[in-house]
Subunit: 323 residues, 2 copies
């Protein structure tokens, strides 16, 4: 039942990340607990290096490069948090990174990635296939491709977020985790179940992008159209192959949240917890808010998975969705 | 040279606050350090109970009530963070609070204060004098008036913020503190100097409300017109009497910041540190941003004194001041 990902893998990743990644704090709020009627423990991965949990997996993968591979460097494709995570992890390890980004990626994301020292190359997302471009780049240059989730070392690194949370907070009843490709849930679920075999594992997806929920019901990976949601980190069309093998055996339930619920979650975290969480990162908390009776009286761990949202985007979201 | 406020007072306050107030975290950011060319340590009082450092002083004062006084309760006037702090501290101590607020105070501030169990009474700020109203209320009801700053137990409680910061971070060169009535600086300065006699103490005021700077130059308390600034917690007309006696002997310098610099500081804290700081709470950090050469290469402690800003106000400020 290990599907190739074991608790030992996650403990090994934690040892590698010690002193490199932040051991992020746990956010609690009397006001929020009162509102939802549960004891809520937010794992503040918005305060992780490069602003999201992604750094944990990227560093764990890149730190395993052989000396030869380190010489040749890494490559990745992403317009989001994975780009910044790979760029920063490569710099910390002392290797080089090439990141493929769509031409129309926000200038701020490109600047942040370049700020970590990566070589950013753009492609036309309507005419070119990013996986093929990345594979060609890897083949030509010998760079090691760093995937965003479908890799055991990525999953193991990402699982250290739950390892820390369960070490810091005892007796959690439920763990709520945003699901995109499924790497965060794969790693976190394995870690959480190892420490607490009875913990309930609940994934959260945007209602418009319920590929994991559909896939779990069908018992096989289902592909959907690119979802339209403000949760830009969760716009995948299909669960990962390796992640799904793990998650289909461990996930108890998947909750769906719409954009309005995500913005309400961002607002409450801003006003009550004074913390900045991006749309994708607020989905797990949104699930708790949108169905509090489902979690009433429970001790609930919530992955606040990222905080990379600018003030302009934040203000737009508030004005669009909040009265 | 103690002016009635000693380090022992602050240590006694810290003992009282232990387990009641939050020992707030220290915010650091590689990105911010790189931008300003200094090592910045933000004392996150925006994460304090009731959202600001004010709780430290209010609780320290109210916890000293005699059994008789506790029976009769407390009163205070404030439209801002002091109101919420007194309301919460009264509830924690187990006494009652009446808070005088102007009729036109924001509904959210009133709701928050009532949410902590206080009895809020309104007055017409154009026709009635709040100090006189509060004095009459105290005389009629026997309630103990809790002033916002000009009281040694308030100052001692507020000084525990710097006590914690200097215990957590060694070898600070400079401490930047927002100045309104001067209570936070009075307490923090005494604590900081006791732990590090060579530390530089720099106050920060809105450029439009430079009563402390003028008073320090003149060597006596100068009254100004009510300042127009977005830093609504710093709109005092004159330094406190007791606070000024302390601050005139210990403050090395006062920096002034304008509204645009305050909003830039709020934006940077949001985007890089993922933390929500209200205008008044961001002034000390704004001083660092607006004159980085003044602090270059130094280890600078910065009081992030409060985080009570709603998403609507935050969005308005960003759209008004940021391109």
């Amino acid at each position: 039942m290990t599907n190739g990902l074991t608790f030992d893998d996650i403990r090994a990743a934690a040892a590698r990340l010690d002193g490199v990644a932040h051991h992020t704090p746990v956010v609690t709020s009397h006001a929020i607990d009162g509102l939802v009627g549960a004891s809520v423990f937010g794992k503040a991965e918005n305060l992780q290096r490069a602003g999201a949990f992604k750094f944990r997996g990227a560093y764990n993968r890149i730190s395993h490069l052989s000396p030869d591979e380190r010489e040749r460097g890494v490559c990745a494709w992403s317009s989001g948090n994975h780009a910044q995570a790979v760029a920063l992890a490569a710099r910390v390890v002392g290797t080089s990174a090439v990141i493929l980004m769509p031409e129309d990626a926000p200038a701020s994301k490109r600047a942040a990635t370049e700020g970590y020292g990566a070589d950013v190359r753009t492609y036309d997302r309507y005419r070119e296939n990013r996986e093929e471009l990345a594979a060609a780049l890897a083949a030509e240059t010998g760079r090691v491709a760093v995937p965003p989730y479908d890799d055991h070392r990525i999953m193991a690194g990402q699982g250290t977020a739950a390892l820390e949370l369960l070490q810091d907070v005892s007796d959690l009843d439920t763990l709520l985790v945003p699901m995109s490709g499924g790497g965060l849930m794969a790693g976190c679920g394995v870690a959480a179940r190892a420490l607490n075999p009875r913990i309930e594992l609940v994934g959260v997806e945007p209602a418009a992008g319920n590929d994991t929920k559909q896939s779990l019901v069908a018992g096989e990976r289902i592909r959907i159209a690119v979802p339209r949601t403000i949760a830009d980190g969760l716009q995948v069309e299909i669960p990962g192959e390796l992640t799904f093998e793990i998650n289909r055996r461990q996930v108890d339930d998947v909750c769906l949240v719409d954009d309005e619920q995500i913005v309400a979650a961002m607002q409450l975290l801003f006003e009550r917890a004074k913390t900045v969480v991006e749309p994708s990162g607020a989905t797990a908390f949104a699930a708790l808010l949108s169905d509090p009776s489902r979690f009433a009286g429970r001790r609930v761990g919530v992955l606040l998975s990222g905080g990379n949202v600018g003030t302009a985007q934040f203000s737009d979201l508030m004005q669009t969705y909040v009265n």
